[in-house]
């Protein structure tokens, strides 16, 4: 290629002059020198495209020059062509060129010099190109390999990360679920506790109701005795009294009970706050066995696995509330109803006794009246 730089080194001023003239005619830029030291010390040596150097030189000979050029980091890629006297060529051919790319016999013809220079440069270019291709393909291969490896590593890493993430999510979920369940259970338990307290209070209230009912009944009977006639007493005995009792009971339950219960619960809660922990656990266990066996023992883990939040925030309270409500209702029914029945029975009995007594009394009064009436009428 025109403009390529050639360093031509020969001890003969004539040879470098001729070589320079020929190479310059062919478009090369030529620098000349007469020894290897000058060649090796050229300040711009690394920028030459070709170095043509005579094999026999003063000081550092051509072979040594070639060898040094070949082993320098900046110049190793520059092709070196040896100029070898014809009589040495046979000898030279059997010897190492010590890093030179080729040789040219001396004396040389201009065409031989140009062809050899071109060939050497071309060879070097091809070498460079093939080197480039090789490098490119090696690069490509390496890149592919690297990508593969990276992908594998990434996948592995991702797997680990995902596993860890899942683990941590699971553990977070577990924790949250546990927390939620705990919270819910605690809430439920406190609700339960309140219910229990309420039940206890209700029991207390029931006894109160009993007493109050007795009192009320007594009052009612007094009032009936005082204000009503036989009919009234009869009617009361037949219908009014039970409904009255029911009403009263209802009223008392509606009015007194909540207030009482609230007070009691507050008190109980305050009192029980300290011993809440263990008591609660027991209560929970007991209540849980009864009220939320599925949720606490079986369903909860399953639900937590799938959708902890939903389970915790929606279903559990519903279930718990429903169950609890049912349980409480049952409890109340179970305990209150028999009492009421018993009460009403007793009241009935009392009323019957009183009615019987009254009937006897009235019979006596009738008999007395009947006995006294002719005497009175006779007197009158």
């Amino acid at each position: 290629m025109p403009g390529e730089r050639v360093l031509l080194v020969d001890s003969s001023a004539a040879v470098v002059d001729m070589g320079k003239a020929v190479l310059e005619e062919n478009g090369y830029k030529v620098t000349t020198a007469s020894n290897g030291v000058a060649a090796l010390s050229h300040p711009d040596l690394q920028n030459f495209n070709l170095i043509i150097v005579e094999s026999r030189l003063d000081g550092v000979d051509g072979l040594e020059t070639a060898s040094q050029i070949r082993t320098d980091a900046e110049t190793f890629g520059i092709p070196v062509l040896l100029l070898v006297p014809d009589d040495e060529i046979e000898h030279r051919a059997s010897q190492s060129l010590r890093g030179a790319n080729g040789f040219l016999g001396k004396p040389f013809s201009p065409s031989h010099l140009v062809i050899k220079a071109k060939e050497t440069l071309e060879e070097q270019r091809l070498k460079a190109v093939s080197h480039q291709y090789l490098e490119a393909s090696a690069d490509h291969h390496m890149q592919e390999l690297a990508e593969q490896k990276i992908q594998q590593a990434v996948e592995k890493k991702i797997q680990i990360i995902v596993e860890r993430a899942i683990q941590s999510i699971v553990s977070i979920i577990d924790q949250r679920a546990k927390k939620e369940v705990d919270a819910r259970v605690t809430a439920l338990v406190s609700e339960k506790e309140q219910e229990l307290v309420r039940i206890t209070v209700q029991e207390v209230a029931k006894s109160m109701v009993e007493k109050m009912a007795e009192k009320k009944v007594a009052e009612a009977i007094d009032a009936v005795l005082m204000e009503t006639t036989e009919k009234t007493i009869k009617r009361a005995a037949d219908s009014m009294l039970p409904s009255l009792v029911r009403e009263r009971v209802k009223e008392s339950v509606e009015n007194i009970l909540p207030r009482e219960v609230q007070i009691k619960v507050e008190k109980a809660t305050q009192e029980k706050m300290t011993e809440f922990g263990e008591a609660l656990i027991n209560v929970i266990n007991i209540e849980a066995k009864k009220a939320i066996p599925l949720i606490a023992k079986e369903k909860l883990p399953e639900i937590a696995e799938r959708q902890v939040t939903v389970a915790c925030e929606q279903r559990i309270p519903q279930l718990v509330t429903a169950e609890a409500r049912g349980a409480v209702a049952n409890e109340l029914n179970m305990r209150v109803k028999p009492l009421m029945d018993q009460e009403s029975k007793r009241i009935k009995n009392v009323v019957l006794i009183w009615v019987f007594a009254l009937a006897i009394l009235m019979c006596i009064l009738v008999v007395v009246l009947m006995l006294m009436l002719p005497r009175l009428t006779a007197q009158g």
């Binding site: 004539a14 001729m18 020929v22 007469s34 550092v60 050029i69 009589d87 004396p107 201009p110």
Partner: protein, 432 residues
């Protein structure tokens, strides 16, 4: 005003002329009888006889690397034939080979150097003749004397140091092999001019040859070489005057074997190989001598010429006669270095091979011209020695006989217009 340089040195003479703003001719003669005249106008040097010598400018331009010798050769031919009334510089400028300012600059540098070289003279004579400025001729340069003196004094001091390292023109700088490419950034760091000088050293060329190859000033090159010696990269080898040069280059047998074309044409190859004599000596008196160019022809002439020179009367060793002359010429005509002295004879086979391989094309013209000049000057030098040893007539007769013998037998492939039997007598100023 005249005197001896022993009593009053040249710088003082110049200073005196400068102070007086004198106009005239200052002639300096060294102990060997060489003379140089400086034309001085109002205390400024405007010309010199040194610049006036025949073909001087052309040589300077070639030496400085400004003009190719092949171009100079063409211009000189032109000057001899068509434009004989014009001076070389004029033709060069007219034909756009060179700018006038460049010529003036080269002359300026050259004259400065020559004057500085005279500063060191401690014997010889000087003479200053006052004259009219109009009689001084053309003002080629304008050299102020005061800066010249300052720089000259500085150089003189440095020259003393340099000459301790480099004792003369003929010593050969040789490279040490103790370098590593990795030193490129520190130990082997050079300025461009340092590298240029370093690049010319080949272990065979004298310091004078390095100066000419570098196309730089003599002082600068010497200074740099001395520095390279100080840095431990170069050593200075003195030419051993008593040893016969054993050529490190191709041996005769190998060379003739390597160039079948040459040997086939001459038919002397096999004979040469058997006898082992140099190929340039294979003219064997009666054979045809087929040469590629006049270089081959002149080499044959030189080799025969050496044989005709009688040994020195002093009985000195004459074995290096040709080697020394050739070394001198090759240091001036640097691209003649393909011609070697091999066993006391010139061997131009390699040069001729290149001329043939390059088909005497443009690229080899400079080498051809340099070789031709060097050979002609060698013939001239040998002729002078011959004259010195056996007198004008015998020397002339000897060379005539040689030419008569060789010329008819020599055939050349290229540059046939060069007739050895015409050019040599003309050069040597011998009547044909």
């Amino acid at each position: 005003m005249q005197g001896n340089l022993k009593q009053i040195q040249l710088p003082e003479v110049l200073q005196f002329i400068s102070m007086g703003k004198s106009t005239g001719l200052l002639t300096i003669r060294d102990p060997k009888g060489n003379e140089i005249t400086l034309m001085i106008a109002s205390g400024r040097i405007i010309n010199s006889s040194a610049l006036d010598r025949r073909r001087r400018l052309g040589e300077l331009l070639v030496q400085r690397g400004i003009l190719k010798r092949s171009v100079l050769s063409q211009i000189l031919t032109l000057q001899r034939t068509i434009e004989s009334d014009k001076r070389l510089g004029q033709i060069l400028v007219e034909r756009d080979y060179i700018q006038e300012s460049t010529i003036r600059e080269v002359l300026h540098l050259q004259l400065e150097e020559e004057i500085w070289n005279l500063f060191g003279l401690d014997s010889g004579e000087f003479k200053f003749d006052h004259c009219e400025e109009s009689k001084l001729g053309e003002a080629l340069v304008h050299i102020e004397i005061d800066p010249l003196l300052i720089e000259g004094t500085r150089r003189q001091d440095e020259w003393r140091k340099i000459s301790r390292t480099i004792p003369g023109d003929r010593v050969i700088p040789t490279l040490k092999g103790n370098v590593r490419i990795s030193d490129r950034k520190d130990k082997l760091r050079f300025s461009p001019s340092e590298w240029k000088v370093l690049a010319q050293i080949n272990g065979r060329t004298s310091i004078k040859g390095v100066v000419n190859r570098a196309s730089m000033g003599r002082f600068e090159v010497y200074r740099i070489v001395a520095e390279l010696v100080d840095r431990g990269l170069v050593t200075i080898r003195e030419v051993d005057r008593n040893s016969v040069e054993s050529a490190p280059m191709l041996s005769a047998a190998q060379t003739s074997g390597a160039h079948p074309m040459t040997t086939a044409k001459t038919g002397g190859g096999l004979f040469s190989m058997l006898t082992g004599s140099g190929p340039s000596r294979r003219d064997d008196r009666a054979e045809k001598l087929a040469c590629v160019s006049p270089i081959g022809a002149l080499s044959h002439l030189v080799n025969r010429q050496v044989e005709t020179i009688p040994p020195p009367r002093s009985g000195e060793n004459d074995s290096r006669l040709l080697a020394d002359i050739w070394a001198d010429q090759a240091s001036i005509y640097t691209k003649a270095d393909l011609i070697k002295v091999d066993r006391g004879a010139l061997n131009a086979d390699l040069a001729e091979s290149y001329l043939r391989l390059f088909e005497f094309g443009e690229a080899v013209q400079d080498c051809y011209e340099d070789s031709l000049e060097a050979l002609i000057h060698t013939v001239d030098a040998l002729y002078r020695i011959s004259v010195a040893r056996q007198g004008d007539k015998a020397a002339a007769r000897a060379i005539k006989e040689l030419l008569d013998d060789l010329a008819p037998r020599i055939t050349v492939t290229y540059a046939r217009e060069f007739k050895i039997e015409e050019r040599i007598p003309a050069t040597l100023k011998i009547a044909a």
